[in-house]
């Protein structure tokens, strides 16, 4: 994972748990140096509902965790490794 930079995660579907028992799943479209995130096509899941929210900004101070599918992470890693190998 050390190979990966922040921009490698752009475009990945991430699962962000935020305060208030809410899980946001969406495509990471932007981040700043404080890890404030912009997610698109967001689906919010709580204990009561599941609904779509569209484009959502997630301030860093609300984030409890950021997760990725293991397969998605492996795919990003593989792509990065291939890229580095081709450059070399």
């Amino acid at each position: 994972m050390d190979l990966l930079k922040l921009h490698d995660f752009i475009g990945a579907r991430v699962f962000v748990t935020v305060a208030g028992n809410r899980l946001l799943s969406g495509t990471l479209v932007a981040s700043d140096c404080e890890l404030n995130l912009l997610l698109d096509n967001v689906e919010e899941t709580t204990s009561e509902t599941r609904r779509r929210l569209g484009l959502v900004s997630v301030p860093e101070n609300t984030i409890e965790s950021i997760k990725l599918h293991e397969s998605a992470l492996n795919s990003i890693l593989k792509r990065k490794q291939t890229l580095l190998r081709d450059i070399v």
């Binding site: 709580t46 900004s57 301030p59």
Partner: protein, 760 residues
Amino acid sequence: MASLEDNIGALSISDKLVDVTNHLKTLARHLQSESIIKAPQFDLFEGTHSLEINNTKLDSSLLKLSVDELNFDCQTSYGESDEEKVAFVTAIADRLCRSIMVWLNDYQTLPTTVLSCRYVEDMMYSFTEDPTSDLSTCRLKTGHEIYDQVLVSCILTTCYFVKVVQTLFKAGVVFEEEDLNCNTMGLNMLSTVALTTVTSHAENSLKLLRNKYPNAHQLALILQLLDSLARIHDLIPVDQTDSAADNRGTLEVLIRCAKQLKELPATTIKVPNGSFSPGIQKRLSNQFPPRAIVEPRGNEYDAFITMAEDILKVLEVDAANSVVEINQFAFFFNRSRQRHVVARALFPLYLMRDDQMILDKFTFNDFSKQHFMEFSLCGTQLATSLRIQPQDSPLVVKFESFMQEVSAVLFEWYQNASQNTCRYRQGYNRQLLLWDSLQAQIEVFEMELESQGIKDELGEESTLLPLTTWVYFMKLTAMMEFVLKGFELDVYKPWEFYTMYWYSYYLAQHLENNLQRVQRHLEQRIAVIQAMNKKLKKLKAGAKKDSLRSSYRWCMDHEMPQLRSNFKYVEYLLKKCTLSKTLALVEVFHFAIIKSIGVIDNRDLSSSRFSSPELVHKLRFKTFSSIGIPELPSYSAFQNSLNEFMIQEPMFTVKFQRSVEFIQSELAKAKAAVDFISNAIRQGEDKDHELITGTHLVKDQALEYYESILKSIEALKSNTNSLHDQIGSKSPNSFTSYKIRVQTAPQACSYYPLLTLQKK
């Protein structure tokens, strides 16, 4: 947290999740401050529209709901006794009914109005999950008929009306946000349900109320009103068999119910607590910030009456006897007052139908052709050639192909007529190039025809070019509307008034010349036909006389009525054009007088070193820079013209006095023209009148418009007197303590604001 984990399970995440929080935090820390990593195709500007988590103004999940709202149960019949249940349902139906008008009239959203009703949310949610056309999934099960039957009817008719508005909205005539918000939160508004299913449900409810609840008068009235709202669906023409006349009764019922309802005393019973709530914004998919629900203000039944009357007005276009009447209807019906959004959305759909017909009366091509015939084409060589040549001749084929192009631009014009006041100007902006390009093409076509001998001489080596003449008339009218509408919308700064009014005057001058050419043609053709009669009397009996008699009769039967009617219509257009020209000229004079005393300048004095008055001027006239004819005057032409209007020393006072007298005499002529036109409008289709205005279907609106012009004339006259009194015989250099103020006289036409002189 356990339940959240359960829900995560429901996301069908079979794959293991890897926590990358700390890794991402570390990576972010290594970024340079203020740097942003983003997807290449993502525009950060879009990010400004994002919903921010944990921001109470943007995050609908943070909406706080009351205990009543949280515990509200749509499957409970609120109220102890039957009377109380009726009272509750009446209160809910009343609030729901009012919410419709709050939604449509106050530019509110559905979730803060109609969809804030828990019953609407509950029923439409069930329907969306399983959209059956028999409404089996769209029920309440409280166990009491006043809820399960009557309230359900109220909800169904309301939602059906929302579907009708959605249908109108999807036609693209009106615009999201600025005209209407049609976001149904992903709920299916009875898309698969037929109107008859909903109306028969309502009829059953009305029967129930009549038989078992005779005192529920208010509830019955509300349901009747909602039922007629749903029936507006039938006013949208689908095929030729539709007849709006049959459906007008629907709107009359709507008006009658609304009138009765607004007279009823306000109910003391409130809706059950929690029955109207912003909760839908928290529960359903929502890409918008949370908003408080909007309470009705009390004038909603008046708004229903206005809406129904406006729709009835739209339907009146059916009674038009000519294309000129349809044209004038479109010009005036939405002019003095912006019509209700539903009426505006309906107008183009009602006029120009999916079956390629105009009001079941004309095909699109015939409609376009008739515009020419009722203006400049009648009695021309081209009209004769089109009549006698076979339908598959190159001339007719090419003409018909042009009519298709004309129809496309003409329909833009008609669609624009029902736009909201700001879009109206933008619509003209878009049309200008279309008319210009059409004029260029059609002129080439007509020049070709002239080379084949199909031409109408106007004397002095000039010819009519009937098609080009009409297109040019439409273009000039559109250009003038575009320029003058800018005054109503406060687009121009006072220092721009001179250039805009002078340009408007310039356009009016071209329009006047064009109309005079048409008039000359009409006079000539009428004279030719009349001369045939004289010639007939002189000819001896024989084949030649018979042939001439037959031609004369044909012309008298088929051409003469249209020629005379065209002449009177063009005469009206000329008077109208002269009015615009005069008022623009007076505005030009006012500006020049005020500039002569140094209180205003026609250049933007705030121009920085990055711009110049000339560049700013060119930017303002950019729209017109690509128009071929009339050519846009150069910047220096604008400047030089102002110098000619300005009053210079020596003999400033004498020259000023002359200017004032000239303005007063022009305004007197303008007033006489308005009186003449208004008289013609009042007399309607009186054959003896010298003008045909084509306004009999919009008589009140046309009179109101000319009344506003009259008010503008009076206001300009009064301002001229004020300038006269203020300036008098003072030196033009003694006005340093004065400033100008832009004012619009009450009820005057907003196209002609006043430049008034005031002490600083």
